[in-house]
Every structure is written in structure tokens, then in C-alpha cells.
């Protein structure tokens, strides 16, 4: 932790608790911080509460405030009066691009966010063009979603989120159902975008390749967090949380020289 200059973290989660409607606990006091510019991975077994946690970062949960614990985005506390601001700042990419890509054409979908922000037509058009270019799909404006491949749909979703000019990108399983090439392309794309990123994923290789830090969520709590290689190459730790050591780190000793990079 640095002393001196008071810089608000991109995301700060403190003692977040949440119960499902049937009463079962989803989050039990999760706490972590993500600094500006970081790329952090969020891993954990199914049912650990990853998706639930991500929905809190955008104010989509809890359905009625106040919940238990707090989430701060760029120093702003997520609450009923800051929802719009938080939703602009946090660009959430859903797991199934079909859920997020709900407009009949690519242009309309990417323009949705800027239009909801109340921007004028010229600004909207500019943002859409830039977002599509950043996502690597310029010229896709008139395409219909049902004609796109899974990878292309994901790029459209990414463009739609980028068009809102977020300060943090939160991605839920970005590489699921992508073929190896789609995965490679998405990885390269994410590397190029300098925004703060939080990636929730089962794809541990992706975490090794993109994330400097990793958070392990299990049973609704943050069990471990630390530098990626150090955490993910600890086989015992991984197995304890129903994960496994990624193939890329099979020769790395958790406390060896490479781990501290």
C-alpha cells in the first residue's frame, strides 16, 4: 500500500455480503481492491459467487439498497443515487453475448449506451465508429447479430461497452465457447486496451497471460489474492479451491525466482 498521495482505487470492495432469494449465502464478506490500470483475474470454482460479485460492481445487485458491505468505483460508493454514474464507469461484459446483444443491428446495439447517456447524434456516431474500430470490427454497422459468429458477437458486446467510455472493464468468462483462434484474437484485443480490467474466468491460461494479479474466490469469500504466478503455481492451493495449476506454469515453483515477476 502506498503512502502519501491519496489515489482512489479503480474498484474497492469491502465486506460484501449477499444472499440469494432462497436465503442461501452467495457472498460472505468479500473484500479486495483493484488499482488503476491493473489487469486482475478473478478465479474460483463454480458456485463461488463470481458472477454475483460482478453484478454488484455495476449496481445490478442488490436489487434494493442498502445491501451489506460496500462497493466503491473510482471512490464513488455504489448506491441508488449513483447508479447511472457507476454503470457508465464500469463496463460489464456478460457471459452470454446473446444476452447483451439485444438490438437488431450492430450499429444500434453499440449506439445503445451512448444514446442512453443522452449524447447528440454526431457524438454517438463518432463513438460507435471508434468503438467498432478498437474492437477490431470496423464496418460491421449494418450487420445483423444472428449472422455473426460467437467471436464477432463478443467483439460487438465489447464495442458496445467501450462506446460508453468506461474506466473499468469487467468481463465474465470472455473466452467461453470461443474456438482457439477466437480466443487468441480476443486475448490480443484485451492486451491492446489499456483500461483497468477485472476478468472472471475458468480459463486459467488466460489469467497467466493477461493478469498481473489474481483473486481466488471460494464460498463467497476472497480466499487468496496475490501475484498471478505465485498464486496459480501453488498446486496445493489450487486443488484446495477446486482449481488446478495451469499448464503454462507446470515448471514454475511457487516460491522460485519466476514467481515474483
Amino acid at each position: 500500500m502506498c503512502s502519501g498521495v491519496e489515489v482512489s482505487a479503480a474498484i474497492e470492495v469491502r465486506d460484501l455480503c449477499f444472499r440469494y432469494s432462497d436465503g442461501s449465502p452467495a457472498l460472505q464478506g468479500a473484500s479486495f481492491t483493484i488499482a488503476e490500470g491493473e489487469c486482475v483475474g478473478l478465479v474460483g470454482p463454480n458456485g463461488a459467487g463470481k458472477s454475483t460479485l460482478l453484478l454488484h460492481l455495476n449496481g445490478l445487485l442488490p436489487e434494493t439498497f442498502p445491501g451489506e458491505g460496500s462497493v466503491l468505483v473510482g471512490g464513488v460508493r455504489v448506491g441508488p443515487d449513483t447508479l447511472m454514474e457507476v454503470r457508465r464507469k464500469v463496463g460489464l461484459l456478460f457471459q452470454d453475448p446473446n444476452d447483451q446483444l439485444f438490438c437488431p443491428t450492430v450499429w444500434e446495439d453499440v449506439a445503445f449506451g451512448p444514446q442512453q447517456l443522452g449524447l447528440d447524434e454526431g457524438e454517438v456516431r463518432g463513438r460507435v465508429r471508434r468503438a467498432l474500430a478498437t474492437a477490431g470490427i470496423p464496418g460491421f454497422e449494418k450487420r445483423a447479430p444472428h449472422h455473426l459468429s460467437a467471436g464477432e458477437k463478443r467483439r460487438v458486446c465489447l464495442a458496445g461497452v467501450l462506446a460508453c467510455d468506461p474506466s473499468v472493464l469487467v468481463l465474465d468468462e470472455p473466452t467461453s465457447s470461443l474456438d482457439p483462434r477466437g480466443r487468441r484474437e480476443l486475448k490480443a484485443l484485451l492486451r491492446q486496451i489499456p483500461i483497468t480490467k477485472l476478468i472472471a474466468t475458468h480459463d486459467l491460461e488466460l489469467v497467466v497471460e493477461l493478469c498481473s494479479r489474481v483473486i481466488v474466490l471460494d464460498g463467497g469469500k476472497v480466499e487468496v489474492q496475490g501475484p498471478t504466478i505465485e498464486v496459480l503455481s501453488d498446486e496445493e492451493l489450487m486443488l484446495r479451491h477446486s482449481l488446478e495449476r495451469p499448464h503454462a506454469l507446470r515448471h514454475v515453483h511457487p516460491h522460485g525466482p519466476e514467481a515474483s515477476s
Binding site: L92, F94, F102, H146
Partner: protein
């Protein structure tokens, strides 16, 4: 997606495709209403309109067999209703006239549907001040009908691979389960879409 055949030719490049959706919709409406209201008469008016439609079809570059197939798919309904007229005072001549009129109107709409992306038609309806709830419903319907058809297809195939009896009752029960699952999944998906809309600032 397997069902994109439903929308395969509406985005071709041709002088017809390039023309404004509003113009095409208004022209189709005028043609359909005018033809539907034609009193029984000689063949000349209908023949003229048919020639016009054929010219437009050729200019649109949509494969003729595709257009014919779409028209034939719907023709039985025309024949069925027209057949009722056979038993009235109009007889054969009315029957044939009705079929001719209806088929010309049908062909006009088939041409319209296959030269204009539905999203363009939605935009025309929006500028015509159609209520937004209806527009949103139609827009989401268009967007998700392909997703649902895919899901339904996958579920049917999964069921079929574990069905070893040809009993009709079982088939009905199975199919009803598929339909019910389709609704439940649609309902859950609607929740997720709502979340996605809110996440990008929907009020």
C-alpha cells in the same frame, strides 16, 4: 446460425435493396391495398401488376426459385379460403379471381420482405410514431427468434436421441416439455437482457 435462412436475401446489393425502406413499404402498401380492393374484372389490371412485380424481382437479384418457394409455401392458405367461395354464388370465376388477387398481394409482400432488412422496416415504423412498447417487442422478437429456434432445435434433437418409442402420446408429452422449457429459458433470458440493458444505462 442454422436459421439465418429466414433472412438470407434481405441484405443483398441491388437497386431495389438500396432504395429507401420507407419508399418500399409505402409502395408495397399501396400496391397491396389497391390490388386487394380490385373489383372482379378482366385480367389486364392483375397482369400489369404482375409484370411490374416480375420486373422488380429481376432487378432485386434475389434467386427466383427462392421467391417462388416462399410464395408456394403460403399459397395453400389462399387456396383454402378461396375454396370456400366455390360454394357461394360467385363460383369458379370468383374463386380464380380471388386466388389471382391474393397471390399478387402475397408476392408483393414476399418481395418486400426479401429486399428490406426487418431492422430497416422497424426504423420506418418508429418514424411513423408506432408506440415504443410495441416496437421494442417486435425488435426483441426479431432479434431472439433465431436464438430460440436454435435452442428448440437442440432440445428436440437431444430428446430424440433418447427416445426409443414411437408412441404419439409420448411424442406430445416430450414436445410439450420442449415448449415449456423454451418458455422458461426465454423468461430467464429476458431477465438477463434486462440486466444488460440496465448495465448500459437503460432507464
Amino acid at each position: 446460425m442454422r436459421h439465418d435462412f429466414l433472412d438470407r436475401y434481405s441484405r443483398l446489393d441491388s437497386p431495389i435493396h438500396r432504395s429507401s425502406a420507407a419508399v418500399k413499404l409505402v409502395a408495397a402498401m399501396a400496391l397491396v391495398v389497391g390490388t386487394a380492393l380490385l373489383p372482379p374484372s378482366g385480367p389486364i389490371p392483375l397482369a400489369t401488376i404482375s409484370l411490374l412485380l416480375i420486373a422488380v424481382a429481376v432487378a432485386s437479384r434475389v434467386p427466383w426459385w427462392f421467391l417462388v418457394r416462399r410464395i408456394l409455401l403460403l399459397e395453400p392458405f389462399v387456396l383454402g379460403v378461396a375454396a370456400l367461395a366455390l360454394f357461394g354464388p360467385g363460383g369458379w370465376r370468383l374463386f380464380l379471381f380471388l386466388i389471382a388477387k391474393s397471390t399478387v398481394c402475397l408476392s408483393t409482400m414476399v418481395l418486400l420482405a426479401n429486399t428490406t432488412p426487418f431492422s430497416d422496416l422497424l426504423r420506418v415504423l418508429k418514424s411513423a410514431r408506432v408506440p415504443s412498447l410495441l416496437l421494442t417487442t417486435m425488435s426483441l422478437m426479431y432479434r431472439y427468434v433465431f436464438v430460440l429456434l436454435d435452442e428448440a432445435g437442440r432440445m428436440k434433437r437431444a430428446r430424440a436421441s433418447r427416445t426409443f418409442s414411437r408412441q404419439r402420446a409420448l411424442a406430445w408429452q416430450t414436445t410439450a416439455t420442449v415448449v415449456s422449457q423454451l418458455f422458461i429459458r426465454s423468461s430467464e433470458r429476458a431477465d438477463r437482457i434486462w440486466a444488460a440493458m440496465c448495465a448500459r444505462g437503460w432507464r
